[in-house]
Symmetry: C2
């Protein structure tokens, strides 16, 4: 997908919402588990059907599918095929390895599957990221400053030049791609740092987890992170897909998505 199509989609839908399909068999409602051969697929199908007009991206947390073996990979494949062409898709895989291995991860998520983007971990540096850049209209989403408490362990360490590790990571990664094929993961739980990241990556999209269950501030995240071309995909996973565990789970997901869109719209002009 091209950047201007993503921007156009945000404007048209008045939504920056990315819905995380962290679909856990343990949390799929019983009536689905008991009545369908592939309950993960059925759950996703209903969530996608009820939310697709109110979000611009879906993020698949690969761990959830991988943990189920072959049937999980099949559910991933079939779920991905249900997503309309104009919605941005993210393989949240956090991969990264030496070049010849990253090349295979890229092949998996960009060829075997046809995701628009993949999340990658930058720890191994340039040659672990480059293979993901060999695809037209595909995106690399690099971990910058993550939303979890462990981000303080290394990402927040101060370097000898006074910058933090995450700042160095984001700055260096500007060399690998452009704002047309690179995004950064920036946690909404740390709004006070978003401003400094925006100074480094002024026109990149940020994929922003941490709203909802993780307690991030939507208002401050938008205040510091949003730009003219929007520049943010606000992710919500559990807060939407598990908002109800009853038969109405898809309707409740729909209303939670609408509610989050309205909250975002309080601080943004589309």
């Amino acid at each position: 997908m091209k950047k201007h199509d993503l921007v156009k989609s945000i404007k048209a839908k008045e939504s920056m919402l990315c819905i995380g399909l962290d679909t856990d068999i343990k949390r799929v409602p019983a009536f689905i588990k008991n009545n369908y051969d592939n309950p993960i697929l059925e759950f996703n199908k209903r969530i996608i059907e009820s939310t697709k007009n109110h979000c611009v991206a879906y993020k698949f947390n690969i761990a959830f599918y991988e943990s189920m073996g072959s049937s999980g990979w099949q559910a991933l494949d079939e779920s991905l095929n249900l997503i309309p062409q104009e919605i941005f898709t993210i393989a949240d895989a956090k991969r990264g390895d030496i070049g010849n291995t990253s090349m295979l991860y890229a092949r998996t998520f960009f060829e075997t599957f046809d995701f628009d983007s993949i999340t990658v971990s930058p720890y191994m540096g340039s040659d672990s990221l480059e293979p993901f850049y060999g695809y037209e209209d595909k995106w690399v989403i690099i971990l910058g400053l993550t939303s979890n408490k462990g981000s303080f362990d290394f990402q927040m360490q101060e370097l000898s030049d006074g910058r933090k590790v995450y700042q160095k990571v984001i700055e260096r990664c500007l060399d690998f791609g452009t704002s047309n094929n690179t995004m950064f993961v920036v946690g909404a739980t740390k709004p006070e740092y978003i401003q400094s990241i925006r100074e480094i990556a002024s026109d990149h999209f940020f994929l922003m987890p941490g709203i909802g269950k993780q307690g991030g501030s939507l208002e401050l995240s938008l205040q510091y992170g949003a730009i003219d071309d929007y520049g943010l995909l606000i992710n919500s996973s559990r807060g939407i897909i598990y908002a109800s565990e009853g038969e109405d789970f898809n309707e409740i997901a729909h209303s939670e998505a609408m509610k989050l869109n309205r909250s975002i719209a309080e601080h943004i002009t589309y």
Copy 2:
């Protein structure tokens, strides 16, 4: 597997060798590809059969299996089952995510599969690593200083206290586990740094890639890295499994493994 069993195995076999099963369908000899339903499995079976008495560990590079979809996961499962109980197994997956997601990765590689260990990326910090520690006799192998050129981008950055990022990572990770359940990836391509890592993690095993195709020095790696309990798993992947592309590939793999063991033994007393 317990540490003393690994040490005993190294002593008995006079080998610190870990063989990397980076099995790529494109490099499997034609006579296997043309005659077997599952050529990856057949290739691994022959490599394992011919080398199992001359190595103490096998490392599966998960990217290679994942890139083949369901049939790759099946080949991984069946290949793992061929490995004798007393040989240490590594899922080289380089995973790491927020806690609830890392928990699922741990479940995949320690429950769905029964690997002895998994490689993990430390970028997201403590809570991304902790879920891997919930298993008895399972090991967490944390990326410390990797063998690729990209390691200079972030791992080698100097912190404000004068240490490098990789040193901080290794030191901090000592808090999460012990030398009985934690190893570090330390590239053999950077022998001049191994000494400083040994000072931080004096009795931990290091998983050491970078010998062979990547050009690391075996002699210096052993000089700086080996300890009384050996403390090293020297990995070779392509240099062994693809040493020949003919029908004799398994015999040549056998002789390459023996050769590497002899080279190691020139610098080590078992």
